[in-house]
């Protein structure tokens, strides 16, 4: 059967990894290629790169980084950040991305998902959503979690998958950075309404959190995290060995 996936996420600004500090055994943790190779060698099942560059020049650097990573690492690569048009899809796919993640771009124009899925296939289009509880409802937030769009997250997930999103990354603003575990309730609510793979993000602080995630919400296919991997608090190969010992299937 298919394994659960462990996915480290790298934020890239001006061609360098952001947050990539204090990593044991690596000389240049800000070099995306070095860090990507390290994760590949430690058993990461996939890599996610978010371009958080604001400038045009920085975007060129990002394309170079992506090409360099994709020429050296042969596991699935998902790329997000600054994806607002089919031209943006084209730009990152030509640089070696396998899947493209849309967030704000889909909020501004939901038909981007439909158009991209028609052009590149559902498997290529990942919906990334930042979700926060407001008065007991799960709401979609924009602008890095600062702005409530008024869109209901469960309805949004349904709509975007009907347009052809082939995977969903659910990032809980409530649990993000708290390191107290994934947002089980929110993930369950999304898994209940979609039939595409769901990737959980936000809240991982220990290996047990991944076990609880996969055991409690069987609909979740993958766990995504950034800083706990970057800071070496959890090593991916140790995490996978632990999960296998807990009877969760992993690729090693």
């Amino acid at each position: 059967m298919i394994t659960k996936r462990i996915i480290p996420c790298l934020d890239i600004r001006n061609g360098r990894v952001v947050k990539g500090v204090n990593f044991e055994g690596i000389q240049d943790v800000e070099d995306p290629v070095v860090l990507a190779k390290h994760y590949n060698d430690s058993g990461a099942d996939e890599l996610v790169f978010y371009d958080i560059t604001a400038s045009f020049e920085g975007r060129g650097l990002f394309a170079d980084v992506l090409k360099d990573v994709a020429s050296n690492i042969f596991i699935p690569l998902t790329v997000g950040g600054n994806i607002n048009s089919l031209d943006d899809f084209d730009r990152v796919l030509k640089s070696g991305a396998d899947k493209v993640s849309v967030n704000t771009g889909a909020i501004k124009n939901p038909l981007l998902i439909r158009d991209a899925a028609q052009k590149y296939g559902d498997q290529c289009v990942v919906l990334s959503m930042d979700v926060k509880r407001v008065d007991g409802r799960f709401m979609i937030f924009a602008k890095g979690g600062r702005e409530n769009t008024g869109i209901d997250a469960v309805e949004w997930a349904k709509k975007c998958t009907s347009y052809g999103a082939g995977e969903i990354v659910v990032n809980s603003i409530n649990t993000d950075g708290v390191k107290n575990g994934f947002d089980i309730e929110m993930l369950q609510a999304i898994c209940d309404v979609v039939s595409v793979p769901v990737i959980a993000s936000g809240g991982a602080g220990s290996m047990e959190h991944f076990k609880t995630l996969f055991n409690t919400v069987p609909g979740v296919d993958a766990g995504l995290a950034a800083s706990i991997f970057h800071f070496g608090e959890i090593k991916i190969n140790d995490l996978k060995k632990y999960l296998i010992s807990q009877n969760i299937e992993m690729r090693i």
């Binding site: 059967m1 394994t3 996936r5 042969f74 396998d98 296939g121 559902d122 498997q123 793979p197 296919d221």
Partner: protein
């Protein structure tokens, strides 16, 4: 030289990159002479069967492929490229394939329970049926490979080399004489996949 057939289907960045990484000379081409002169051929593919088949027909290369396969040149189909090697596909209608591998391409969702996800996306374990196949020269039972697909090969027992379990047995590697196919993406399957591409490039028929 390895010829990667260019017919406007799918992203070839990783495939060309992985061959380059292995030190294997490859060219992305739709030129008949280049394909005739190549030592081996790779047929990639992502997307819908009917559309891809039409695009391949439009290149005019099908008679060239038929001739080269008949002459014994090694051919590897990947993902949709593998599906096109089969006789028929039932993806949204009924379409004829190249017919090099006996069998049909059928929808996964009709054969698995409703609560299982389609597409079959992710890493799955290979169960080897024919260890002696040259494509598996460096592959071990239980190695993981990366799949993304909604349709799968059926009625191809004679050509089955390795499969993965997804409620049904999904053919992962098929082979008939000099024609090979992988449903998964070797160019996305880490070291396991790279070794399989290396093995293909060492095949002599």
């Amino acid at each position: 030289m390895t010829a990667i057939i260019n017919y406007g289907v799918g992203n070839l960045f990783s495939l060309t990159g992985s061959l380059k990484h292995l030190g294997i000379d490859a060219v992305v081409t739709n030129d008949a002479d280049e394909i005739r002169n190549a030592e081996r051929i790779i047929l990639p593919g992502v997307g819908a069967f009917a559309d891809a088949k039409q695009k391949l027909l439009d290149t005019g290369l099908v008679p060239v492929l038929n001739e080269e396969v008949k002459n014994g040149k090694p051919l590897l189909g990947i993902c949709l490229g593998m599906q096109m090697l089969f006789e028929k596909s039932y993806e949204y209608g009924e379409h004829s394939g190249l017919g090099y591998i006996k069998g049909d391409i059928c929808p996964l969702n009709e054969d698995i329970p409703d609560d299982m996800k389609v597409p079959h996306i992710g890493w799955n374990k290979l169960i080897v049926k024919d260890k002696s196949n040259p494509l598996l020269r460096y592959t071990n039972e239980g190695d993981y490979v990366y799949y993304v697909h909604s349709f799968y090969g059926k009625n191809c027992d004679d050509s089955l080399v390795a499969y993965s379990e997804y409620y049904v047995n999904v053919p992962g590697v098929v082979c008939y004489k000099n024609v090979f196919g992988t449903q998964f993406h070797p160019e996305k399957s880490g070291e396991v996949g790279l070794k399989m591409l290396k093995a293909f490039c060492e095949v002599t028929v």
